[in-house]
Structure formats: structure tokens, C-alpha cells
Amino acid sequence: MLIKRAAELSDADVTPKSVYLNRRKFLAELSAAGAIWLTGRSLGKLVSPGTSVLAASQLSGVVKGPFSTGEKPTPFEDVTHYNNFYEFGSDKGDPARNAQNFRTSPWTVSVEGEVAKPRKFAIDEILKLAPLEERIYRHRCVEAWSIVVPWIGYSFSTLAKLVEPTPKAKFVAFETYFNPGVMAWAQGTGLEYPYVEGLRLDEAMHPLTLLCVGMYGQTLPNQDGAPVRMVIPWKYGFKSIKSIVKVRFVKSQPPTSWNTENAHEYGFYSNVNPNVDHPRWSQARERRLGEFFKRPTLMFNGYGDQVASLYAGMDLRKYF
């Protein structure tokens, strides 16, 4: 389905925008007045359409990285206005609106645990640890939609090697920043905060696993996990934890947020797998945003050649 904005003039261009928005606001309020309590925040969506994206800065010196797909990237507008970031609300449009006041500078990431050289990295250091690469990855959400995103960053292993994990380190635990003051929308969303995720050490050290600081040539917008996030393209999107403040190398499998919320539906591994359905919906197909027909979901989201060997001999139905 075509969802691009037409280039020619629309009503909004003819009528002054404030007038146009007011009329829209009036209509929306009138039609929805009786249902405010039921709809809750959805009314907000009606009265403040087209929220802009926070100013992001261009990243310079970005080189083409490995593993990029030749598929067409999803429009920037969609990737920045259709987000799951429950700290800023559980509707897809919430993070674009509610993450505007989220300050991501200064920012420090503490890397600790079973490492020889624990260390805190300022975001500016992270930006300079290695040449920034653009990697165009498929991104598949557990909710059966997908996007293609030109992420910017470098392999997580680059940072990991600097802190020298000890032989005791078997897993890596990640933690998202949490401050109920700027993330008031988290309340009532059903997850425990701060949001935590985890990977087996070999998964974390895999070259595909990206420490990500930008997308579409720019720094990350707040709603997409600024200023630094993980991208693990063969796993469902919720594994790609956003706005990281802590990385811990640990001996045993760490708790992960969605698994804690509902272990029956969200496994620790959560590898994209069309043969293992989510208990409440099929994972066999997905809707690529911007397309009408669903497309078949690929095993490991199409990254099987790179990562299937990590799971040799494992029952992926049991370790879903």
C-alpha cells in the first residue's frame, strides 16, 4: 500500500497550518468527546498530528559496512513514527511524541562485570572507538511487521575486546536508561523497568551484532534508542535494546524484560523463526511496512548463513 505523502499541494498548504490544525482539533474532539476515557491517549494522537523528529546531527566519516542487504530501506518517517519504546508509551506513535524531552547528552555507558578492564565510556568516546559503518539490516518485530534500516555503528565485539572479558564471562546483560521523571509513560505498560536484555557471549561477539549510534546518516532519534543501542538483526526487535547505560559481562543467563513479563511467549533467544509461532499469532509471514502483501519470514531473518552455526544441535522449539 502506498503511504507516501504526495508531492503536490494539499489542503494543508493552502490553509494556514494553525487554522487547519484547529479545525481538525475541533472535529476530532467533537467526534471523540464521549470516548475520551475509553480511548485514553489515542485522542492525543488526533489533536497533535505530524509531530516532528528531534534535531539529529549528521554523522561524518561513515563507511559502507559488511552484511548490508540490497533491499530498499523503509522511509525514515516510518522508522521514526512507528516505534515500540514502552518507557515513552505503548502505542506505536507515542515514542515520537513523548521522547522529545529525553536528554541524551551527557551520556555514559558503564561496561563492567567479568572483565579485566571495567570502564565507563562517554558517548563521544563510543563514537570514536572505531570507524562508523553503515549497515543496512532487515529488522523483524515479534509483532509480525518488519522494516529495513540503514543503521550506523560497528560490531559490538570492538567495544567488548577493549574491556577484556574474562573466561568466566558467558553472557552479556544490557540495561536501558530509566528515569520515571522523563519516562512517566512507562507506568502501567506491564513491563518492569529498567528494561533489560541479554545475549550469550558468542552471540554478542558475532560480527553481525551491532553497537549502533545512528541511522540514515544521522545520530539516533530519541524514539529509536538514542544515543546508543544494540541491533541484533537475526532476533526479534525487542532484543535490540535501546538507550543503553550499562553492559555487564556475567557468568549465567541474565533476566530479560519480555521473558520476565511472559516466559511462555517470549524466550531468551527469540531468534526470528517462521516455524515457531508466537502463542497468539503466526510468525510464518510478516508485513514489511509500506507493502500491502505479507511476505514470508525467513529463518534467522535471512541471516542463517552467518548465525545458524551458533545454534547447531539446539532444539529451537525449546529454546525459542
Binding site: K4, D11, L38, T189, S282
Partner: protein
């Protein structure tokens, strides 16, 4: 007030207002405001309005009693049919836009996914009610039998609320609000029924109130 309620113009205005959600959806489609996932947006919007119209329909009887506005009954059939109308749009969105007539996949959904089973049940139960909504059918079935049949709307609304609750991943606040309204509307009826039973001859006497006629909803 009563003359306003019985005016055909009011009825026409309510009819148009009930088309408002569809109009809004069309407006949003024209202005590319159906989000990055338009099919999901349409599915949710039509589903929301099905459930809302079921609740509004179920609210008619309590409201006409509590507000002493019996003329509100004139709107109940129309509101119920709008619930069915949005239910049809919701169902069509699912089979056409979402599944694109993939019968095997839909069949799997209906018997394997509890939330789809619940939603499908709620929708199917509305079909006989929509079909027998005419005065002719009330006559043919007889008031009592017709009324008994149309109590299926209690099941439809309950199934709708469960459908919504089972669909969401973890933020259950909104589905719970709908469920609370369904529960309140059904509890009111249970209360009225219980009251009436207790007031039957032979039952312990209660303080007298205005006698209710045999109408329920």
C-alpha cells in the same frame, strides 16, 4: 426533551454521527494519517468502534431507566446495527486487507488463536441479531422469544472485551476499561433481574418502588 428524542431529525443526526468514525477514517486515509502500518490502524479503529457501539447499545436500557427517558429506545436498534456495521468492516479488514483471503491461514487463526476465536464468536453472534432486527421478525418470533435471542448481545460484548484483552501484549489498561464497562452494564441488568425476582409474590417483601413493565434490554 421527549419531543427532541422523538423527532425524525434527531434520528437522522444520530445516524450521521454514527457514521462519523468511518468518515474520520476516510479523512485520515486521504491525508495519509493511517500511520506507517495502515492495515493495522484500520483494523484497530474498526475494532474499537465495534466494541464502543456494543457498549453504547447496551447502555440504552439502563440510561432510559435512570434518566427516565423511555424514548431512547427508538435508537437502540440503530445503534446495535452500527455495532454490526463496524464489526463487518473489522471482519472484512481482517479477511481482505490483513489475510488477503488466505482461508487456510484464517482457519488456523480461528481455532488456534484464542483472541481470534473470541472475536470471531462475538461477530458471528451478532449476525442473527442483525437479521432479526426488523419489526416483522419481532412479530414472527414473538416478543419474549425475540428478547431472549437478543440477549446474545451480552455474549458478543463480553467476547469483544476478551478479544481485546487477549490481543494486547502487556499494556492491558485499555482493554480492562472496556471490560469494566461491559461488567457494569451486565451487573446493572443482573441487579434489576434479581430485584424483580425478589419482588415476586411469595418472596420476601422489599420497599415498594415504581413498578417496572416487562421490558428489558
Amino acid at each position: 426533551m421527549n419531543s427532541i428524542l422523538t423527532s425524525k431529525w434527531t434520528k437522522a443526526a444520530v445516524f450521521l454521527a454514527c457514521l462519523g468514525p468511518l468518515g474520520l477514517l476516510g479523512w485520515e486515509a486521504l491525508h495519509h494519517e493511517l500511520t506507517a502500518n495502515p492495515i493495522e490502524f484500520i483494523t484497530h479503529a474498526t475494532g474499537d468502534w465495534t466494541l464502543r457501539f456494543l457498549l453504547i447499545t447496551l447502555a440504552v436500557t439502563p440510561l432510559r431507566k435512570l434518566l427516565r427517558m423511555p424514548a431512547l429506545i427508538r435508537y437502540r436498534r440503530m445503534l446495535g446495527l452500527f455495532a454490526f456495521f463496524y464489526g463487518c468492516l473489522h471482519f472484512t479488514t481482517y479477511i481482505w486487507l490483513d489475510q488477503f483471503f488466505d482461508v487456510a491461514s484464517m482457519w488456523k487463526d480461528v481455532h488456534k488463536r484464542p483472541f481470534i476465536t473470541a472475536g470471531f464468536t462475538g461477530f458471528v453472534l451478532m449476525i442473527p441479531l442483525a437479521m432479526t432486527s426488523t419489526a416483522g421478525w419481532i412479530r414472527r418470533l414473538g416478543g419474549k422469544r425475540w428478547q431472549r435471542l437478543h440477549r446474545a448481545i451480552y455474549l458478543s460484548a463480553t467476547a469483544g472485551a476478551i478479544h481485546y484483552y487477549w490481543l494486547v501484549k502487556s499494556d492491558v489498561r485499555r482493554p480492562l476499561r472496556y471490560a469494566a464497562v461491559v461488567a457494569a452494564l451486565l451487573a446493572w441488568r443482573a441487579g434489576v433481574g434479581l430485584h424483580r425476582r425478589l419482588r415476586r409474590p411469595g418472596a420476601p417483601s422489599l420497599p415498594r418502588e415504581t413498578p417496572t413493565t416487562a421490558e428489558t434490554g
